[in-house]
């Protein structure tokens, strides 16, 4: 398949301190052979996007349990666009009501993983999504 390892940022935007999920997912992605950059807490959308570009990542995963998901996904996606990096895959998870998922997808979030998702499901999804992105790039 692809030669280059998948590079992904797992980020905690805003003030939310719940990092159990983010860290478990980051570790699972790493164990699955990906290069994972975990940002730590209290990242602004600007910091996340700057890291994404600097580290030349395939994907950005946001973990939000504070109810501020609309705000942070929108900011990150808009900033990626303004940097011409809208091809970077944005996905996320946390306590995100199902009713909010359609609007997140409409703004460009590729997948939202709620509580109870297995890490293997996230790993598989991300591998496929990155593969698709790279195939497109080559065309």
């Amino acid at each position: 398949m692809d030669e280059r390892k998948i590079r992904v940022i797992v980020a905690k935007p805003g003030l939310d301190g719940h990092d159990r999920g983010a860290k478990v997912v980051a570790r699972a992605l790493r164990d699955a052979g990906m290069e994972v950059i975990y940002t730590g807490l209290r990242q602004t959308p600007e910091q996340i996007v700057a890291t994404a570009i600097q580290e030349d990542v395939d994907a950005v995963g946001l973990s939000i349990l504070s109810g501020a998901h609309e705000h942070y996904f929108r900011e990150v996606i808009e900033l990626l666009k303004s940097e011409g990096a809208e091809d970077i895959i944005v996905f996320g998870g946390g306590v995100i009501p199902e009713d909010d998922v359609p609007s997140l997808k409409a703004m460009g979030v590729k997948a939202v993983f709620g509580p109870g998702t297995s890490t293997s499901e996230i790993v598989e999804w991300l591998k496929n999504a990155v593969h698709e992105r790279r195939t497109k790039e080559r065309v």
């Binding site: 805003g14 003030l15 159990r20 478990v24 209290r42 199902e98 009713d99 509580p115 109870g116």
Partner: protein, 560 residues
């Protein structure tokens, strides 16, 4: 607890039983080769007096209200007074939260518990750039005394006790509460309640720190000193294992790291010259109640015994009130599932029952919809009713510590205490909890447990009903959830702007400078100066701003 002769008879009888078991398991093997508690403590097939033969009833268990308080901190426990039913609540602005509190009090809740939004917890006013998108989301937004006046409007502060989940800016919120009390003509020595004020677990597990450890510890001990003199009924800290457990720790780690934090606070206060026999009376604790029913009950009992021994033997405390581990419990949020959420009502019931059988002083029961969003009024009512059913219908409140004497429970209580003590010894060897946190040791231990738990779920070694077994198709089950009004941020900013135009800005500036001066001089207690500033409507963000300038900010030690 048993005579030699009796133990010999039991030992013989056991051999016979085991023969029978061997025959049976050859034909019908047990479901698993090894059984453990949820925290990985190996569990035997059956427990007998042999497992608790070294237990000394008077020394290790004693009577309720007596050292080492294994059986409870009060002599009559729930026969005298039931635990305080205290639901953690708060969202949007002070107006909405005030309404929710009045509703809960009408429904028979006996204490308040305030949830603050993240900007408040991290010391930003609602108009700060870092607050964007977060105002009023996970709790109520409090910028100034004005908001606090609205929050407690029509609630007499001498009739309720109030717990506030606030850590880094705890002094500021306590000062606001005192100021609201004064406006209601209630002097501060009549106020009762709790501030969480536990910064160490913020570095470890919860994340709402502001300042580095040293000035943070100073803020905490300033509060101990101030309250010992002026607010004697106030619990000055709630040393919290809850969030450590939510972050993924085991039951043993929850006890060990919480008590290690406790030791660090006591040491800091003693170093400041405070008397542990005095401030020790107002230390309180906060634990999680998780799924493994018997392990949780044993955990509460073990924590009580271990803390009493620490206070007595390590710190030489003789005042019984300062040896007692009094605690609040919340059922485990991390066990709530988004799948088939009604099942959570059953989980919460068992967790709440464990807390009661473990002798809790107050209890929050989670609402079944909290894996989806903030709870609705209906789901909160069911959660409160769960406590009331345990209290008034189950019969478990009629006698104290009814599971004492169970061979398994007593063995497990001792085992948890022993394993927690091993961690405490290790932390002591490292040079104490501050060093252990700085090195990332504690965080790493918790994360390893969290990851192991997740893997166990994925290998189906750990079953979560409705998640990795017994799933159903749940498409299109759109249910009512609570949504925070998106305009709350704008309203809050407008209120703040109006306040800043109306108040005496010269006085605000003066009082803020006095805080700065005290921040630079450790011999001055910060509390009275913060109180002065709050009373002239200096905002939370302004006070924290000065302290940020003086103390600097904590930078996370990222462990993965």
């Amino acid at each position: 607890m048993f005579k030699e002769e009796e133990l010999e008879r039991i030992s013989k009888a056991r051999l016979k039983y085991e023969e029978g078991v061997n025959k049976a398991t050859q034909r019908y093997p047990e479901r698993k080769s090894t059984f453990t508690t949820s925290g990985g403590v190996p569990v035997e097939r059956v427990y007998t007096p042999e497992n608790v033969k070294d237990l000394d009833y008077v020394k290790d268990l004693g009577f309720p209200g007596e050292y080492p308080y294994t059986r409870g901190v009060q002599p009559t426990m729930y026969r005298g007074r039931l635990w305080t039913m205290r639901q953690y609540a708060g969202y949007a602005s002070a107006d909405e939260s005030n309404e929710r509190y009045k509703y809960l009090l009408e429904q028979g809740q006996t204490g308040l518990s305030v949830a603050f939004d993240l900007p408040t917890q991290i010391g930003y006013d609602s108009d700060h750039p870092m607050a964007r998108g977060e105002v009023g989301k996970v709790g109520v937004a409090i910028d100034s005394l004005e908001d606090m006046e609205i929050l407690f409007d029509g609630i007499p502060l001498d009739k309720v006790s109030t717990s506030m989940t606030i850590n880094a800016p705890a002094s500021i919120l306590l000062a606001m509460y005192i100021a609201v009390g004064e406006k209601q003509n209630i002097p501060m020595d009549k106020l009762s309640g709790t501030i969480q004020n536990d910064i160490l677990k913020e570095y470890i597990a919860r994340g709402t720190y502001i300042f580095p450890p040293k000035p943070s510890m100073r803020l905490i001990t300033d509060i101990f000193e101030f309250c010992s003199k002026h607010v004697p009924k106030w619990n000055t800290i709630s040393i919290s294992g809850y969030h450590i457990r939510e972050a993924g720790s085991t039951a043993v780690q929850e006890v060990a790291f919480t008590l290690a934090d406790g030791i660090a606070y006591v040491e800091a206060a003693v170093k400041k010259g405070l008397d542990p026999d005095v401030f020790g009376r107002r230390l309180s604790f906060f634990f999680n109640s998780h799924n493994d029913f018997l392990e949780e009950i044993a955990k509460f009992r073990a924590a009580r015994r271990l803390w009493a021994r620490i206070m007595k033997e390590r710190f030489g405390v003789t005042n019984p009130s300062a040896q007692k581990l009094r605690f609040h419990t919340q059922t485990a949020g991390c066990t709530l599932t988004a799948q088939q959420p009604e099942n959570n009502i059953v989980r919460v019931t068992m967790q709440a029952l464990a807390a009661v059988l473990g002798g809790t002083q107050s209890l929050h029961t989670n609402s079944f919809d909290e894996a989806l969003a903030l709870p609705t009024e209906d789901s909160v009512r069911i959660a409160l009713r769960t406590q009331q059913i345990i209290a008034y219908e189950s019969g478990v409140t009629s006698t104290i510590d009814p599971l004492a004497g169970s061979y398994y429970l007593e063995w497990l209580t001792s085992e948890i205490e022993r394993r927690a003590q091993e961690y405490l010894d290790k932390i002591d060897e490292m040079g104490g909890m501050l060093v252990a946190i700085e090195r990332g040791y504690v965080q790493q231990q918790i994360q390893d447990s969290a990851y192991a738990y997740q893997k166990a779920i994925e290998s189906e070694e750990q079953i979560v009903v409705g998640v990795n077994k017994f799933q159903i198709e749940e498409k299109g089950t759109s249910r009512e959830i609570l949504k925070v009004d998106p305009s709350v941020g704008e309203k809050q900013i407008a209120r703040l702007k109006a306040l800043k135009e109306r108040r005496d800005n010269v006085k605000v500036k003066e009082t803020l400078e006095e805080i700065r001066e005290a921040a630079r001089d450790e011999s001055i207690n910060l509390m009275p100066r913060i109180l002065d500033a709050i009373k002239v409507y200096a905002t939370l963000g302004e006070v924290c701003g000065v302290l940020r300038e003086e103390f600097g900010e904590y930078k996370e030690n990222i462990i993965l």
